[in-house]
């Protein structure tokens, strides 16, 4: 495949800065000015949702999780505050079915399978993409075929203007909830082929914010109305990253070193407590994380017919969890919860090789093989049970092929996964070998119109995590893998107009049916560290996701961009227990709204930018599962607004952003008893040297 300078995407960025649900046939990750990062042109058969560059910057988002809320099909489970856990769910298939890739390599968590997206700040991020199914290219690692949905986080790549070898930028963000967030980034051009960046960030928040508990009597009078403060959700986090990029006419390579460390309070469920508890309790439930990742990839264009891609990664994660809650009782300090002081150490070794061979101009085949090794060690003070010390070897291989017949394009692949587990204690999970196919087809009826009809079928599974299998009190080693089947049919259309008023216009509709069988559900109990295992058995989902967008040129310098999404989902719990149907059989699964939507409206005038965003999540039911009044959760919606201004002083470029979030000051909960912040503000000042 030829390298291609992606100059086209300059135009793209300029036209629609928000490329949500962008129907990009070309990848638009990059580009500013004349220097350019080279990207192969993907043959995306199915549309990808992208947020990148400026659009990402001006969305009122702090973490990757915040930004993902704007994608259709996505639900973020947010436990509130700066340090609260934030996980992603796509099409109600569950967090474990979403693969999150950082610079092309999956972020793993063999322990609980959950990636906390709140940990990834947007500071160093260039683009976030979401693919339903998988990225529809056949030149990728086997891992990339292995999830029901995939999220790609791409960090910023260096861009140098003519004659400049060093870029330096600094940013300072401050906000409500005592947020302090300075960051710095430098880019060095070593030579024409090699460049490097260093990015570092510190974040602090005391996590203390107000929330309100209010109920009305039937006659409308207030039954109770109390204001509480979110406690124990403080966070201190550091991140430092060093990336290397290189290319010549035959090779492209990159390498990343990543280190993240945080110390945070774990906010608990807001439940009723005795008055004395509220006055005298001393909550000490904390988590310390130390995450290191080192990864690299190398693509070699051997000939016009053959190229290969190698990837490797090592990750080491330390997580320490302590919990000791005490309270006064009759003049003495007593504990009132089970106590923990556990440290978990995870290792993730990964290597992948992918080969692409072009048989003819219209027919390509590929073979990818991945090998992964995961290990979990632990020290647990005061606990007498034997820890399993699990190890898992995973071998994956994917064979894929694609054909391009002009109007019709198709891709198919089959993925084989083979695992071998070892434990030092307790019962070992059986070794697994599973084959999983998928098929993608797109049809473009007219060459002159950008109208695409596409469909895919994907069968994939997720393995039980180490916690599912071996968590001493909850895990059961005989859990089966959880299987998902997804059918998708969609249509999208976009048009760039030379019209002076309407610059471009986009519309897309996706429909899907997805079922999950043998579903393993882990939901946090009152403490986020204690996962409650339920084997749901079966969930049936179907839904429609729609999006429209346009860019209007109102005045010569005034552009208006509008993006709207709406989504309908039905997710029925069809599980059976060993003894029969549970009382919630056929009900909508917890936290899955029937209706949801978002809008982003942006106004650009010369150096000014104004962004308004709105998110709506409709009525849904909580973890008690039955769709009865008592379990209902009110819809929530947030209005966020941001204003930004760029200016220049000498050779320095400045940018200032003011954000107001949750303008209507709605007190809401995404997860029952985990209140979210009310109205809050952030200010950002950045300087480019």
């Amino acid at each position: 495949m030829k390298l291609k300078f992606c100059l086209l995407s300059i135009a793209f960025l300029w036209v629609g800065k928000v490329t949500l649900f962008a129907q990009t046939q070309k990848d638009s990750i990059t580009t500013l000015n004349e220097i350019v990062i080279q990207k192969e042109v993907f043959k995306d058969l199915i549309p990808v949702q992208t947020l990148s560059g400026e659009a990402l910057e001006r969305l009122n988002s702090h973490s990757v999780a915040d930004a993902l809320r704007y994608f259709s099909g996505v639900k973020i489970k947010d436990y509130g505050g700066m340090g609260g856990l934030k996980t992603i769910d796509v099409r109600n298939m569950g967090t474990h079915h979403v693969g999150v890739f950082y610079n092309g390599i999956q972020i793993g968590n063999a322990q609980n399978g959950i990636v906390d997206l709140g940990k990834f700040s947007l500071d160093n991020v260039e683009a976030i993409k979401l693919y339903n199914g998988q990225r529809s290219t056949i030149f990728q690692s086997a891992k990339e075929y292995a999830s029901a949905s995939t999220v790609y986080i791409q960090t910023k790549k260096p861009v140098f203007t003519e004659g400049k070898d060093v870029n330096l930028s600094a940013k300072y963000k401050a906000g409500s909830i005592q947020l302090t967030n300075p960051s710095i980034r430098t880019e060095y051009k070593i030579n024409d082929n090699v460049s490097t960046t260093i990015s570092a960030e510190y974040m602090h928040s005391n996590g203390r914010y107000k929330f309100r508990q209010k109920r009305h009597n039937l006659n409308g009078t207030v039954a109770y109305d109390t204001v509480g403060h979110r406690l124990n959700s403080d966070i201190d986090a550091y991140r430092i990253e060093n990336s290397w990029y290189g290319k010549d006419d035959k090779n492209t390579w990159s390498a990343n070193l990543y280190y993240y460390q945080s110390d945070r309070g774990l906010p608990e469920a807001v439940i009723k407590k005795s008055d004395v508890t509220l006055e005298t309790e001393n909550i000490n439930e904390r988590q310390i994380d130390k995450n290191f990742m080192g990864q690299a990839e190398w693509t070699r264009y051997v000939s016009d017919r053959y190229q290969f891609l190698l990837k490797a990664k090592f990750a080491y994660d330390l997580m320490n969890y302590t919990s000791r809650k005490t309270v006064d009782f009759q003049g003495e300090e007593v504990t009132y919860n089970p106590q923990f002081d556990n440290t978990f150490y995870q290792q993730d070794w990964y290597i992948s090789a992918a080969h692409l061979y072009k048989i003819s101009p219209i027919w390509e085949v590929s073979l990818s093989t991945d090998l992964q090794y995961n290990k979990l060690n632990a020290t647990r003070k005061g606990q007498g049970t034997l820890f399993s010390y699990p190890e898992r070897y995973t071998f994956m291989t994917a064979f894929a092929t694609s054909v391009d017949l002009g109007k019709v394009k198709a891709q198919g692949n089959i993925l084989g996964t083979f695992t071998n587990e070892k434990v030092r204690h307790n019962f070992k999970a059986p070794n697994r070998s599973v084959w999983a196919p998928s098929l993608f087809v797109s049809y473009k009826p007219w060459n002159e119109h950008n109208l695409n009809i596409h469909a895919f079928y994907k069968y994939i599974f997720r393995l039980p995590t180490f916690n599912d299998l071996y968590y001493t009190q909850l895990g059961t080693s005989n859990l089966r893998p959880e299987i998902s089947r997804q059918f998708n049919l969609g249509i999208n259309y976009n048009k760039a107009l030379n019209h002076s008023f309407v610059k471009e216009f986009r519309v897309s509709v996706e429909s899907y049916y997805a079922n999950i069988t043998d579903k393993i559900i882990a939901s946090p109990t009152s403490s986020m560290m204690r996962w409650m295992m339920t084997n749901l058995g079966k969930v049936e989902n179907y839904g429609i996701e729609s999006a429209v967008g346009t860019t209007l040129n109102i005045l010569p310098d005034l552009d208006l961009g509008i993006n709207l999404t709406y989504e309908y989902t039905s997710s029925k719990d069809k599980s059976l227990t060993l003894y029969g149907k549970p009382s919630y059989y056929g009900d909508q699964i917890p936290y899955a709204p029937w209706h949801s939507g978002s809008s982003i409206v942006e106004l650009n005038y010369k150096d000014w930018g104004l962004n308004y965003s709105f998110i709506y999540v409709g009525k849904r039911y909580n973890g008690n599962k039955n769709n009865i009044k008592r379990n209902e959760i009110q819809p929530w919606y947030t209005h966020d607004i941001s204003l930004q201004k760029s200016f220049k002083w000498k050779d320095y470029k400045f940018k200032a952003i003011v954000e107001a979030n949750n303008l209507a000051n709605q007190y809401y909960e995404v997860v029952t008893n985990f209140p979210m912040p009310g109205r809050n503000f952030r200010f950002t000042l950045s300087i480019d040297l």
Binding site: V334, K381, T476, G580
Partner: protein, 355 residues
């Protein structure tokens, strides 16, 4: 909007001499703040769910998180709300809140001579996690104040009282696999632990029969040690019998001990469910099925068990999978289903209301 109650007509109205109905405590899943109280009244035949929230609309966050026990003493109902760290006291007749008594991590209740006794997992802070020893607190039922406290064993559970002695089953549930194995004997006059009786691992339930024999259940360890039932003679404070019956929950009426067992095996993930009635005089199992009409097949996880001392009706609850809405079953003394209705989340504990 406040949580309002809802009612079902479950049986034809009947008029009893001694008992007018019962309160039922739904435990509610941890972290959901979902403990709730239902009520059944014989003379209307109506079962009303979530009565506490409606009768006490001004109480912030309703009843609280994880109900663990409910008992009636005099004109007051006492309910331990485990994770919320208090004993809720409300009026039997009106269902109106009277007082919240702070007892951290409170578990079970018992009463004697105007005093309430509450077992608690809480313990004085120790350096090692989960080395804290639990206690039993005494509450005066007139002043509704905690009067005394005695340290017993690790994570104490149910209690029985015989004359001036209180027996409490220590589980050691936080100390897996180093469970406690003892029953503590507390002298109610001095309020001191006078003895520890070594019984079996992970003790939980306790009942006393009319002859003064105390029944203590052991949960086992979910791996190798099976659940079991032991008998302690309260005259000698010795273990006199190991009955080799698995018991998850039990209740005594006259000379009959009704029990069921859900025996969970960690290595297979299998639950086996069994029921039975034991003659407390002969210590012989009379029958190994309480429910005779086959409706026990509908019960996913039996949880609460109670017998109306007057009508001899047997009440069972179905906790489902602890997450969904559970059910309450009423059986005739012969084990035929009289009525069934939905309860709250984890319906569990009954308190019969005296007229």
């Amino acid at each position: 909007m406040i949580f309002t109650s809802d009612s079902s007509n479950v049986s034809i109205p009947t008029n009893n001499e001694e008992y007018s109905g019962f309160y039922l405590l739904n435990e509610g899943n941890m972290g959901m703040n979902r403990a709730s109280i239902d009520m059944f009244t014989y003379d209307t035949g109506v079962y009303t769910r979530d009565i506490f929230s409606e009768r006490n609309p001004n109480i912030t966050k309703e009843l609280g998180d994880v109900g663990n026990d409910i008992k009636i003493y005099g004109s007051k109902v006492y309910a331990t709300i485990n994770v919320s760290n208090f004993v809720e006291v409300f009026d039997v007749a009106t269902g109106k809140h009277i007082k919240q008594i702070h007892v951290p991590n409170c578990r079970y209740l018992n009463f004697k001579d105007g005093k309430a006794y509450v077992s608690s997992y809480s313990g004085k802070v120790e350096i090692n996690p989960n080395a804290e020893i639990g206690f039993v607190a005494e509450i005066d039922t007139l002043s509704l104040e905690v009067t005394r406290k005695v340290v017993v064993g690790y994570q104490p559970e149910e209690m029985v009282i015989k004359d001036h002695k209180l027996y409490v089953a220590n589980s050691g549930g936080y100390r897996v696999p180093n469970y406690d194995t003892t029953v503590s004997v507390v002298d109610l006059n001095t309020f001191e632990e006078i003895k520890k009786i070594d019984v079996g691992i992970n003790l939980h339930r306790m009942q006393i029969d009319r002859n003064g024999d105390i029944y203590v259940s052991s949960r086992g360890d979910y791996y190798d040690v099976e659940p079991n039932l032991y008998v302690i003679d309260s005259a000698t404070d010795q273990v006199v019998k190991k009955l080799d019956i698995p018991v998850s929950n039990m209740t005594i009426d006259d000379n009959k001990l009704y029990y069921y067992a859900t025996s969970y095996k960690h290595n297979t993930g299998n639950n086996t469910i069994s029921y039975g009635i034991l003659d407390t005089d002969t210590k012989q199992v009379i029958t190994d099925n309480i429910i005779k009409d086959g409706t026990d097949k509908q019960i996913l996880i039996p949880y609460g068990i109670a017998v109306n001392p007057e009508t001899k009706e047997i009440f069972m609850t179905d906790a489902q999978d602890y997450v969904g809405t559970g059910f309450v079953y009423c059986y005739s003394p012969e084990g035929q289903l009289k009525w069934k209705t939905t309860g709250g989340n984890i319906p569990a504990h009954f308190a019969f209301i005296k007229k």
